[in-house]
């Protein structure tokens, strides 16, 4: 039986519990490394591989949804030294899919990265792994050793003349390193402070050389794209939104966990797969794409399908596919207070609007939550947001502002209540019950 519930499972089809099934033998038994072998045997050109990926309309799973094939095509052909980098710095609150991909199927990412290396002409790759998942990093290192022994990595791969080696780089606690240029700085042994763009990584990337960066899930999808063909992959999803995607469902549902569904699946279906609302309580709101995405109230999200376009139309983002589900026990001021703290804590400190602005935003929300809000605070929050968003070096500034804007758009009255009554709309005991810490036993959750 599959480890998790899924519709049309590709990425998760081979997932099995515990230590079974992640190794190279099992991966090969599932058809793993076939795509790579075929590319090498049939001597597909780099352009052919890129064309296939373009056809699939595989959009980057890291959050921005940028078409992967197009990104690869930006890599300069002639450059002698190039890199492929995988972004497993999964730190966006709500997102936990990449960890499971590396836990249950690390070779899919390795194969995807080798194919990418082949397509863009890079001989070296790095996988940047989130600091907090050290056990996963160790497993990935084991998988790399397996792949090296099996001849998939190193010089002259499978006798084809292709050289590609891959290494893991462990992060150590900085959300900002998920931002691709901060990640590159971090691999270079520096603080993770994002670089100003242009130049983009495809021109000046790791160690100053052209670099392609993709999310773990993006790379994991590549072998499937190549195996089934670009158009078949596209057809799994919906136009402009190829394939299946992993959704990390967290919060107040009965079975939090990862669910793989085709792009375009109704949100309601996902909620059902996640076991419905915990304790049968009422859905209040959902943050559909990781903590940086604006919150959507229940009625809006229930009308959405899970793809870039539908969620964007509803005023939020699909982002990394992290679905944070909140029921009526949640105080939205408190929720925003915690998120604002996160962006304040994680700002790299480099550019003025983010360094100073995230702290200010948090201080105001904190005051409101603690009964010291002022009526003018809400407009101040929006105005400051306007002075941060779009004015920073990287998108963390925007990421800090979007949740504020979303909350004030849909739940302004709760904030006003706080300011007026100097207390929370949701009674403390109700909030406490909502977390289920004191009532929930081990059972229930997925995996």
């Amino acid at each position: 039986m599959a480890l998790i519930e899924a519709i049309n499972p590709l990425l998760t089809a081979g997932w099995t519990k515990g230590d079974a099934g992640w190794g190279i033998k099992d991966y090969e038994a599932r058809g793993g490394y076939q795509a790579l072998k075929r590319i090498l045997a049939e001597k597909l050109t780099q352009d052919q591989v890129i064309a296939e990926v373009k056809t699939s309309v595989l959009r980057g799973r890291g959050g921005a949804g940028f078409p992967t094939g197009l990104k690869w095509s930006f890599m300069p052909k002639a450059a002698p030294e190039k890199y492929v980098v995988c972004n497993t710095d999964e730190g966006e609150p709500g997102t936990f899919k990449d960890r499971d991909i590396l836990r249950y199927d690390p070779h899919s990412v390795i194969e995807g990265m080798i194919i990418a290396g082949y397509a863009v002409g890079a001989a070296r790759g790095y996988n940047y792994i989130h600091g907090e998942i050290f056990e996963i990093y160790e497993r990935f290192e084991q998988a790399l050793a397996e792949a090296r022994t099996a001849g998939y990595l190193g010089m002259n791969i499978l006798g084809s003349g292709l050289d590609f080696d891959l290494f893991a780089h462990q992060g150590w606690g900085a959300y900002i390193c998920g931002e691709e240029s901060a990640l590159l700085e971090s691999i270079e042994g520096k603080k993770g402070q994002p670089r100003f763009k242009p130049p983009f990584p495809a021109q000046v990337g790791l160690f100053g050389k052209p670099t392609t960066i993709n999310n773990t899930e993006t790379f994991a999808a590549i072998p499937f794209v190549m195996r089934m063909g670009g158009s078949a992959y596209l057809d799994l999803g919906k136009p402009n939104n190829g394939g299946t995607k992993l959704f990390s469902v967290s919060g107040q549902v009965n079975k939090p966990g990862n669910y793989e569904v085709p792009m375009g699946t109704p949100f309601a279906r996902l909620l059902e797969m996640a076991g419905g609302m915990r304790g049968g309580r009422k859905l209040k709101a959902v943050i559909p794409g990781g903590s940086s995405a604006p919150v959507l109230p229940a009625d809006v999200i229930m009308e959405c399908t899970l793809d870039y376009d539908s969620i964007a139309k509803a005023g939020s983002m699909l982002g990394s596919g992290a679905v944070i589900v909140m029921d009526e026990t949640v105080c939205m001021v408190k929720a925003l207070e915690r998120l604002s703290y996160f962006y304040y804590e994680e700002s790299c400190g480099q550019c003025t609007p983010c360094r100073e602005g995230t702290g200010w935003l948090h201080k105001i929300v904190h005051r409101i939550e603690h009964g010291q809000g002022r009526p003018e605070d809400l407009d101040l929050l929006l105005d400051l947001g306007g002075n941060i968003a779009g004015r920073t070096i990287c998108a963390l500034g925007d990421a800090a502002v979007l949740p504020v804007q979303g909350m004030l758009k849909h739940f302004r009255s709760e904030f006003e209540y706080h300011i007026e009554h100097q207390r929370c709309l949701v009674p403390p005991d109700v909030q406490k019950a909502g977390s289920a810490f004191h009532t929930r036993m081990m059972a229930g959750a997925a995996c």
Binding site: F96, G131, E132, I133, G173, K191, G251, P256, F342, H438
Partner: protein, 157 residues
């Protein structure tokens, strides 16, 4: 300053990067140094910087930027609890409160016996398993209900 074993581990990290790019290994080297020494004193950071041929302040920038490096001594067991929103929705904050009460300390404090240090963590990328916590940065504990917390504390000898 660092043991041969640690230096060997650092050398293995250095080998992952192109020639002359040994600074790339600074994060790993500091992690390894911290593991051996318990925390990163100034002289430890300086040693690592020296070993990798980089300015000490550049290594300090790194050590102070990433929040899993400890620039102050910590207890034998450092417990980091994720309290971010997705975790909080499933008890992250309450698990932290439980630990605070149990250990009689607040975040960033160490128990008088030097055994436990409690830290507030940011998203660990495991929100589906909430409450989650890290033990000494590297061991992740999932679904930390009161019983599981008790079990963990009992395991920490």
């Amino acid at each position: 300053m660092l043991s041969q074993e640690s230096l060997k581990r650092i050398d293995r990290e250095v080998a992952k990067y192109p020639a002359g790019k040994q600074q790339s290994a600074v994060m790993a080297a500091l992690r390894i140094a911290q593991e051996e020494r318990g925390w990163l004193a100034g002289e430890t950071i300086e040693f690592v910087a020296h070993y990798l041929g980089m300015p000490a302040i550049a290594a300090y920038e790194v050590a102070s930027f990433y929040n899993m490096y400890d620039l102050q001594p910590v207890g034998k067991y450092k417990l980091t609890v994720c309290t971010n929103l997705p975790c909080a929705l499933s008890g992250g904050v309450h698990a932290a409160d439980y630990l605070k009460q149990k250990l009689g300390i607040d975040f960033n404090d160490t128990t008088p016996d030097g055994k436990f240090t409690l830290k507030e963590g940011e998203c660990m990328g495991a929100c589906g398993d909430a409450p989650v916590m890290l033990v000494n940065n590297i061991r992740m504990k999932s679904f930390m209900t009161p019983e599981e917390i008790e079990k963990l504390l009992a395991e920490c000898k």
